[in-house]
């Protein structure tokens, strides 16, 4: 029986004045997917992610999350329904510490966000989960430092940790390794690879090595439209993609 479709867009369009950033994109993401979204700069990748996650509202078309029509849901409601994302530019709480950020996210997920009488840290189960997540991401050492003063790479890892703390069904990763120095990129890739199987992943990435090592399926976006979709091998050998995007560099699978 074909795997359950967790995230789906039908004929999705987004226009900013005259510019069509998303051009009738129909797309579906099955359970456990490891899907990469690639395309030249300005192809509308981040816009598409913002549409899926509710940061932007579409001009037309619909979005379905686990079967429910979430087109008009707020980002908050979609987050609660199991859709998490990281941001291309770090969006973290500068004054808080990593452990506090995770405790906050877990508390919101469990509906404990508004509990005002007991201090943060009273829920031992939350603390244990947060500490485990930090360990999983390998950033236990900076658990109590102010996020504002963390190294850029550590912040990227924290972005992923926060998304994971939401226990999502679908995870949208917007260039998780962007701007991260070479030696730390491997760490991020290992983390992404080790993500739980049942979570469906979309990865936006420019670095083809990462894409081909990670992705089980790839979509190529050009000028806001879905240019071509397929397995890594099909995409690598497809002349149109090569001509539009990959240029002459030969790609070994």
């Amino acid at each position: 029986m074909s795997p359950r479709i967790l995230l789906e867009s039908r004929d999705l369009v987004k226009r900013f004045g005259g510019i069509t950033a998303t051009d009738h994109v129909t797309f579906s993401l099955p359970e456990g997917a490891r899907h990469a979204l690639i395309g030249p700069n300005g192809a509308g990748k981040t816009t598409f992610i913002n549409l899926l996650s509710g940061v932007l509202t579409p001009t037309s078309g619909e979005i379905f999350l686990d079967g429910a029509n979430v087109t008009h849901w707020s980002a908050r409601k979609r987050a609660h329904a199991g859709l998490a994302r990281t941001f291309q530019i770090n969006q973290l709480f500068a004054d808080l510490t990593p452990i506090e950020t995770l405790m906050l996210t877990i508390a919101e997920r469990e509906g404990e966000g508004a509990s005002w009488w007991r201090p943060v840290g009273a829920r031992t189960d939350f603390v244990d989960e947060a500490v485990a997540l930090l360990a999983q991401l390998g950033i236990s050492d900076i658990a109590h430092h102010r996020v504002g003063q963390l190294a850029y790479g550590k912040q990227r890892l924290l972005e992923i940790a926060v998304a994971l703390a939401q226990k999502p069904k679908v995870l949208l990763l917007d260039e998780p390794a962007a701007g991260v120095p070479e030696h730390e990129r491997e760490q991020i890739l290992d983390v992404v690879a080790a993500l739980p199987k049942e979570v469906a992943l979309i990865l936006i990435e420019h670095d083809m090595h990462l894409v081909f090592r990670f992705a089980k399926s790839i979509s190529v976006l050009v000028n806001g439209g879905l240019f071509v979709e397929g397995t890594p091998e099909e995409i690598a050998n497809d002349p149109r993609v090569r001509q539009v995007y990959l240029g002459e560099e030969d790609v070994h699978v």
């Binding site: 908050r76 966000g113 244990d128």
Partner: protein, 341 residues
């Protein structure tokens, strides 16, 4: 999640997190000193109860501005509403019925302010700092107009006459020397401070700091941002209302001056003086601000405002985060130099 036995990191993490909310030695000393003022400054009790009331208003601004990041120039409106509500209760209770008991008056004052706070909280959810500044200012001006026009109820610009609160809890009568007033104000401040402290150290308080930090991320992790802002704005309005009630009961008077612009401006100045977002910033700010005003007022009665203006400009230009921020930086610099830790 596998229930792993608490690893060393987990126990350390819990210790650090819970450590944030444990009562420090300095905090305990601060409150002992505050209550000791009863014996230390027997002749200055009415000034001290005024400082306690101003501290409560600064605390209410701290919740909204320091923690949730909402710029407000309208907390004076809730202070005034609280003062008039409690004043009217005391006046019509005529010291006889239950209604004129000051403690009930506090809830009437705080409650009335909270209702108006809740109603106007939706106005400050969206908009930039500038819009929020002007909306809160506009609300305060409207309350001022209403108080001035409803002469039959509020006594108009002459103020509310005949406010006769009965004895606190039926036991302590307000004495001329301001002893009861001082202890009463300080106890109310302490109780509300403890509640605010718990609030700020709780997940709710953490979520406020998150909202102030990054609105986009708070929405991405599913936080009902508007509900939180409405809640904190209403609680802050309650705090300012109780402060107003205290003022009306201890001075047995309420006037439109309670709602004037300078009340809201003073509250914000005191907070920033002390250091916003430190919870003690407001209290520290009100002590220094009001003492400076009293001392300077006696030397050069006319120009307290001049020195206030100069200190303010200097504060903004040279100091980040008020006195507590300044002390924090100095200590951090001292520690870095001395390599003490």
């Amino acid at each position: 999640m596998s229930a792993i036995t608490p690893s060393p990191e987990a126990t350390r993490a819990r210790a650090v997190l819970l450590g944030r909310s444990r009562w420090g030695v300095a905090e305990i000393i601060f409150w002992i000193l505050a209550f000791a003022c009863y014996w230390l400054f027997p002749t200055k009790l009415s000034l001290l109860s005024e400082i306690a009331i101003l501290g409560l208003v600064a605390l209410s601004v701290d919740l909204v501005l320091g923690y949730a990041g909402i710029v407000t120039l309208g907390q004076g409106a809730f202070f005034g509403i609280g003062a008039y509500a409690a004043g009217l209760a005391a006046k019509h209770g005529m010291g006889t019925t239950l209604w004129s008991d000051p403690v009930i008056g506090l809830f009437i004052g705080g409650g009335a302010a909270a209702v108006i706070g809740f109603a106007t909280s939706f106005l400050v959810l969206r908009g930039s700092d500038m819009t929020r500044l002007m909306v809160t200012l506009g609300v305060a001006l409207i309350v001022d107009e209403v108080v001035n026009q409803m002469k039959w109820l509020t006594g108009g610009s002459d103020g509310l006459q005949g406010v006769l609160p009965s004895a606190v809890l039926g036991i302590w009568e307000f004495d001329l020397f301001g002893r009861v007033a001082f202890v009463y104000s300080l106890v109310v401040l302490f109780v509300l401070f403890v509640v605010a402290r718990a609030l700020v150290k709780s997940p709710f308080g953490l979520s406020l700091q998150a909202i102030k930090g990054n609105m986009l991320r708070t929405r991405a992790i599913g936080m009902p941002v508007n509900a939180r802002l409405v809640a904190v704005y209403t609680v802050a309005a309650f705090y300012a209302g109780v402060a107003g009630a205290l003022a009306a009961q201890t001075t047995q008077f309420a006037s439109p001056d309670y709602v004037a612009f300078h009340r809201s401006a003073d509250a914000m100045l005191m907070l920033v003086f002390g250091g916003a977002g430190h919870l003690y910033g407001g209290l520290l700010g009100s002590i220094i601000f009001r003492t400076m005003q009293d001392v300077l007022g006696n030397i050069t009665p006319q120009y307290w405002q001049f020195w206030l203006g100069v200190t303010l400009v200097a504060l903004v230009l040279f100091v980040r985060g008020g006195i507590l921020g300044l002390l924090g930086n100095m200590l951090a610099a001292w520690r870095r130099k001395g390599g003490a830790s």
